[in-house]
C-alpha cells in the first residue's frame, strides 16, 4: 500500500460521500487529514472514524465559496500539523436537473461557485505551502466524467467540471518546475446524492450498473480514495495534468 506517512492533506467536502472516502483512505495510509466540511455535524463524525482507526484528523468548518474560509482552513492546517502537502478539492453543491433554455442565474451560480470558484481559492491559497512541499506538493481536483462528455440532464454541471480539468492542466504546466503535480479524479461512487437519486428513480441503479463494465457503483473509500491516495503519493510523482476516470469503465473517451 502506498504510504503517506508525514503528509498533511486537506480534503474539502469530506463530511460525506467521495470526500469522506478520500479522507478515510488518506488517513489509512498515514496522512494527517483536515476534514474541510461546511458543517461540523458531518465533519466531526469523519474525524471520529479516523481516530477510531488510529489515524489523525481534524475538522475545520469551511465554505469553499468563501476565500476567507479557505484561507483560514489552510492556516489552521499548517498551524495544527506544521505543513500542507496535499490539497484535494472535492466539495460540490449543485447538480440539480434542469433544462438549459430555462436555467436562470441561480442554477448557474450554484454549479459555478463550489466547483470553479472553490478550485480557484483552494489552489491559490494552498500554493505557497505546496511550493514549500516541492516534489511532495499535490493538488487534486475532483471532477466528473460529465466534464468530458457533457450532460443531457444537468447541462451546466458539465462546463464547471470541465473548467476544473483546464485549471488542473494549466497549473500542472505552471507549477511543474516546483515539483508539484496537479491531477483530477472523475469518480462515480456511492454518495448521499446518488442514494437520493436512486431513491427517487428506482430503475436508475440497475441501469447504471448495467452500463458499467465492472457492474457496480464505486465505493468512495476503496475505489476512489485509493486512487486519490496513489496520486498523493511518491509513486505518482511523474503523473501530472491528468484525469483518472474512476467509474468502473463506463466512460472510455480519454
Amino acid at each position: 500500500m502506498t504510504g503517506l506517512d508525514g503528509r498533511v492533506a486537506i480534503v474539502t467536502g469530506a463530511g460525506q460521500g467521495v470526500g469522506r472516502g478520500i479522507a478515510l483512505a488518506m488517513a489509512e495510509r498515514g496522512a494527517r487529514v483536515v476534514i474541510a466540511a461546511r458543517r461540523a455535524q458531518t465533519g466531526d463524525p469523519v474525524v471520529d472514524e479516523i481516530s477510531a482507526r488510529g489515524g489523525e484528523a481534524v475538522c475545520i468548518v469551511t465554505d469553499v465559496t468563501r476565500r476567507d474560509d479557505v484561507a483560514a482552513c489552510v492556516d489552521a492546517a499548517v498551524a495544527r500539523f506544521g505543513a500542507l502537502h496535499v490539497m484535494i478539492h472535492n466539495a460540490f453543491r449543485g447538480g440539480v436537473a434542469h433544462r438549459l433554455e430555462d436555467a436562470g442565474a441561480d442554477v448557474w451560480e450554484q454549479n459555478s461557485r463550489t466547483a470553479v470558484w472553490g478550485s480557484f481559492f483552494c489552489a491559490q491559497l494552498a500554493y505557497p505551502h505546496l511550493r514549500d512541499a516541492g516534489a511532495r506538493g499535490r493538488l487534486i481536483l475532483v471532477t466528473s466524467p460529465a466534464g468530458v462528455e457533457g450532460s443531457a440532464n444537468i447541462p451546466l454541471y458539465a462546463p464547471v467540471k470541465a473548467a476544473q480539468r483546464a485549471i488542473a492542466k494549466s497549473l500542472a504546466r505552471e507549477w511543474g518546475p516546483h515539483g508539484i503535480t496537479v491531477n483530477c479524479i472523475a469518480p462515480v461512487a456511492e454518495t448521499p446524492a446518488l442514494a437520493h437519486a436512486f431513491a427517487s428513480n428506482p430503475t436508475l441503479k440497475e441501469r447504471l450498473e448495467a452500463r458499467t463494465p465492472l457492474g457496480r457503483v464505486g465505493d468512495a473509500e476503496r475505489d476512489i480514495g485509493s486512487v486519490a491516495a496513489f496520486l498523493a503519493s511518491d509513486d505518482a510523482g511523474y503523473v501530472t495534468g491528468q484525469t483518472i476516470v474512476c467509474d468502473g469503465g463506463s466512460f472510455t473517451g480519454l
Partner: protein, 242 residues
C-alpha cells in the same frame, strides 16, 4: 438543387467580428451565401452590424432581436467567436497573482454571456426546426497553458457548455459544435510559445477566412446535420488528441 454547404436563405450572427478571427469567419459565411450580421463593428461590406451586450439575459435577447431585424429572417446560425472576457489581451500571469475580479471577469462573464447567447437564440431555432451553434474554442483549453489558467477554464467551460447543449437540443434539429484554432489566432496576446506544443504539421497557424472559414461554413450547413457535440481542431495539426 443547391449544394449541401450552400448557406443561401440562412441568417447568421457572428460575435467577435471586431477581431481577425470573427471577421474572417463572418466573411466566409457571407461568401457561402448566408446573410450575416456581426455583434459589434466588422470591417467587411457584406456583413451588417448590430450593437449590444450579451452579458445579461435581456441584453442577449435584444441582440438576437436586433440581429433578426437586420437580417430580415431568423438567426439560424450563431458563430460565437468573441474573445473570452476579461483583459483585452491575455498576457500570462502567475496563478498566485490572479485576483477575484480577474477571475470573475474571465470565467464568470465568459460563461454567462455564452449561456445567455445560447438561450436567446434557442427559441427561434427550436421553432424553425433548424439551428447551428459554432463556438470558437482555442486549443489551449484542452492542452492547458501556464499562466493562462483562468482563460483555459473559461474556454473549456464554453466547450462543455456546447456539448451539453448539443445533448439537450439535438431533437430540435439544432447542432452545437466547436472549432479549435491555434491559440495565437483567436486570443490576442497569446503566443504559441506560451503553450509550448509541437509546430503545426501544415507549417502555419492558419488564416481565419481561408483555413477556418470553410470548416465553419460546413458546420453551419445542412451537410453537417449529423455532426454535433464535436470539437474540430483546425490548427494546422498541432493538437492531435484523441
Amino acid at each position: 438543387m443547391p449544394a449541401a454547404t450552400d448557406l443561401t436563405q440562412r441568417g447568421a450572427l457572428v460575435t467577435g467580428a471586431d477581431l481577425d478571427i470573427g471577421r474572417g469567419l463572418a466573411a466566409a459565411l457571407a461568401g457561402a451565401g448566408a446573410r450575416v450580421v456581426a455583434l459589434g463593428p466588422c470591417a467587411d461590406e457584406r456583413v451588417m452590424s448590430v450593437a449590444g451586450d450579451i452579458g445579461s439575459p435581456d441584453g442577449a435577447g435584444d441582440v438576437i432581436a436586433r440581429a433578426s431585424g437586420a437580417l430580415g429572417t431568423t438567426v439560424d446560425v450563431v458563430v460565437h467567436a468573441m474573445h473570452p472576457m476579461g483583459d483585452a489581451t491575455a498576457a500570462p500571469s502567475s496563478f498566485a497573482d490572479v485576483t477575484d475580479a480577474a477571475w470573475d471577469a474571465t470565467w464568470e462573464r465568459t460563461m454567462r454571456s455564452t449561456l445567455f447567447l445560447f438561450q436567446a437564440a434557442f427559441p427561434a431555432m427550436r421553432d424553425g426546426g433548424f439551428g447551428r451553434f459554432v463556438v470558437v474554442t482555442p486549443t489551449l483549453s484542452m492542452s492547458g497553458a501556464p499562466g493562462l489558467a483562468p482563460l483555459a477554464a473559461a474556454v473549456e467551460g464554453q466547450r462543455l457548455l456546447a456539448k451539453s447543449a448539443a445533448r439537450q437540443w439535438g431533437a430540435h434539429g439544432i447542432t452545437v459544435n466547436c472549432i479549435a484554432p491555434a491559440p495565437e489566432l483567436a486570443l490576442e496576446g497569446v503566443s504559441a510559445a506560451s503553450v509550448s506544443l509541437a509546430a503545426p504539421a501544415l507549417g502555419r497557424a492558419g488564416d481565419p477566412r481561408a483555413d477556418l472559414g470553410p470548416v465553419v461554413t460546413f458546420l453551419a450547413s445542412e451537410a453537417a446535420h449529423f455532426v454535433t457535440g464535436a470539437t474540430l481542431c483546425v490548427d494546422g495539426g498541432v493538437w492531435m488528441a484523441p
